[in-house]
Each structure stands twice: as C-alpha cells, then as structure tokens.
Symmetry: C2
Amino acid sequence: MDFRIEDITRDEIDRRLSVVEPLTDSVRDLVDAVIRSQVSDAELDAARAKIDEVVAALRTQQRPGSFGTPYTREFIGMPWGNAAVGARNALAPPLRVTRSPGVAECDMVLGAAYEGPGGCVHGGVAALMLDQLVGEAASTDGLPSFTGTLTVRYLRPTRLGALTARAEVTGREGRKTFVHATMSDDDGVTVEADAIMVSPKGFELPDGDALPHPANSRQDL
Amino acid sequence: MDFRIEDITRDEIDRRLSVVEPLTDSVRDLVDAVIRSQVSDAELDAARAKIDEVVAALRTQQRPGSFGTPYTREFIGMPWGNAAVGARNALAPPLRVTRSPGVAECDMVLGAAYEGPGGCVHGGVAALMLDQLVGEAASTDGLPSFTGTLTVRYLRPTRLGALTARAEVTGREGRKTFVHATMSDDDGVTVEADAIMVSPKGFELPDGDALPHPANSRQDL
C-alpha cells in the first residue's frame, strides 16, 4: 500500500479543501443529474461535449495512478480519493465521520446514485459505508488495521434518503479487533454488520489482554 | 421497492443506450480527473462553474426520486441507475456481467475512484461488486432474490487495476439460495464472499428439493 508524507499546515489543508469540496459536490450533483435527466438526446450530447472539455482542462496536469493516502508529519490523514469519505471523490457521499474512543458514527444522505432495488439503497453500498465505519471505529486509538472479515445482514430494505450509521469496537484479541456496526433509517436498524479487523504484525495486544466489551451500542441508534 | 413497466423495443433500448453510455463514461472520466488533477485553484474553480452549467441544463427536465428499475413487457430490465451496473450511473464501473445458469462473471477495471488503502481497492467496493454478482448469479433462472447475509473475507490487498469476479450458486434450500463469489487479480483470488440470498414468499422450493452443489468454481478463476 502506498503512503506518502505531505507536510502542509492545517491552514493549507483547509484552503485546499475550500476549493476541492465545492468542485466535488458539483460532480456529485452531475452524477445525480445524468441518472435522472429527461432532456433530449441532443441536449445529452451537448452535456457530454462540455464535460469532455472540462476533463481535458483538468488533465493538463495530473498525478499518475490514484490519489493515495498522504499524511502530514502531525499524522493528519488526507484520504481525499477514498471511495467512502474522499473529499475529491464524487463516488463518496462523502461520509463525515465523528469519532470517539472505539466508536465511529455519521449521518448520510444516499440519493439516486446509490440505488440497487428500485427506490432502495444497493446492499453493496450499505456494505461499503459500513466497511468504512468499522475501519474508523477500530482505528480511533491510532492502531492501524484492515478488514479481515465483514459479515453484513440485511434486516429489511433501506429506502434511499437520510440515514445514520454507527460502528463500535466490541472486543480485542491479539491482532484482531471486533467491531459491530449498524445502518438505520427513522424506523430503526435496516442493516447490521460484524467485522474482524486485523492489525499488522507487531501491533498485537499481549495474550489475555483483550479489551472488555463496551456497553451494547445498538440501543443508541 | 419500486418497479415500473416501460414498454419499449430492444431497438429503442439500444438507441437510448447509445446516447447515455458515452455521456456516463464522460462523467466517470470527470470523477477520475477531479481526484487526480493538479491544475491551479483558479482552473478548478473554472471547472466547477462549467459543471454547474451542465447540471442546470440537465435538470430542466428530470424524473423525481431515483431512476428505479423499469422492465419491458418481455422482462428486459433497465437498471440504469444501479450503483454497480447502471448505464447512467457514473459510480458504477459499470460491471458488464455475463450470465449462464447459476453463474455470473465479469471483468472490470477499478481506477482511482475505487481507492481505500493507498493504491488498493476499498474493501467496501469489493463487497459492493461481489454483492451485485451474487444477486446476478442467484437470479439466472429468473427467481427473484435479495441478499440476506453477505460474508466477505479479504485474503490480501487488491491493487487498483484490471480484475475479474465470479459468483456461482452452490445450493438451494426453501427460499434460500447459497452463492460463493471471488474477486481476483492476475495472481489469483484476493477477496472471497459467501451469500445467503432470500426469495420472496411463494418462491420457495419444496422441502428436500435442494439443488446439488455444482462443481467448485474457484479453480476456474
């Protein structure tokens, strides 16, 4: 995996975000508009020509490959290309995750671009958002980890619209961290997930030093 | 879930796709360019202004809500808003799935927009693509079904780039269909998934009439 140090100040990060966030929001808007538009074929063709012009202008200077996951020396991450949280990635809603020890949560609005069954969130999109959240919950103490196994249970269809999601660490054992997560609409939980996160070698807890299960988080939703 | 009949001919479907597919490809290109561009802030702002103009033009006539899942009377589906396979959805790579009885497979190229860890496919994106494939495999005989449980195991990081995926029905029991799926790069399987798909009531097989497990599909990858 590719990491890189990009040693910029918090102010410079904010300045860059003030430019790219509105741009990415406009692209999200465009993704939605292309799905739902009912204008004529000629107008769709005209839209394509204009988009191609914009792409050509943006590509006059571009980084090779992907955005990667740069960090400042103060270890502020800038995962701006990330498919779930990326500030430069129009595929991401983006999730704006709030973290406290062992917990990650967020509100999100999933529109037409996240559809699977008619009018409903694609089951795989729910898995994508919950995979991101379990990773964020597992790393709130700075421990790096990757998803080893993710089990997602679909309790009922999730309508497109405003949703909340929450992930909470439920235990630790050696290099494994166990995380439970849920996605909910106004009527309660629609999807739940359990993840076994795995930390790289050298990050395991000593034998028998598993963290206790925190209070069951699902009633908080 | 929302279904609707849109009774158009195969020729009319092809005609519409010939307009929307190149448009959506251009938006995919734009999503990638916004992630990777290194042009000046002024140029990024100019891009945003042009995109907003395109969005306004497309939105002069648009359907409410989402695209939905229209079908012709011959039951040809047009899930063009779908997050994994949608011809109008720039979030979808899109997967172009080949189906045979009990099997769904596809090649795909996942670029910068599908990133999680630096240079690698987001684990949740792998889950999204495999969720789509298990649904396609389970429905090759026309039986409607939805994902009940999806278990995804990450064997090693999946580098961004050219990948293949395959899903195969391994058994049936009442309203449940069991499907095994894999995602692979040139060196072999990187992610595997098992799904329990559930069909609506009235679609169950009689007791004891479970289908036999087909030959293990993983060696084919």
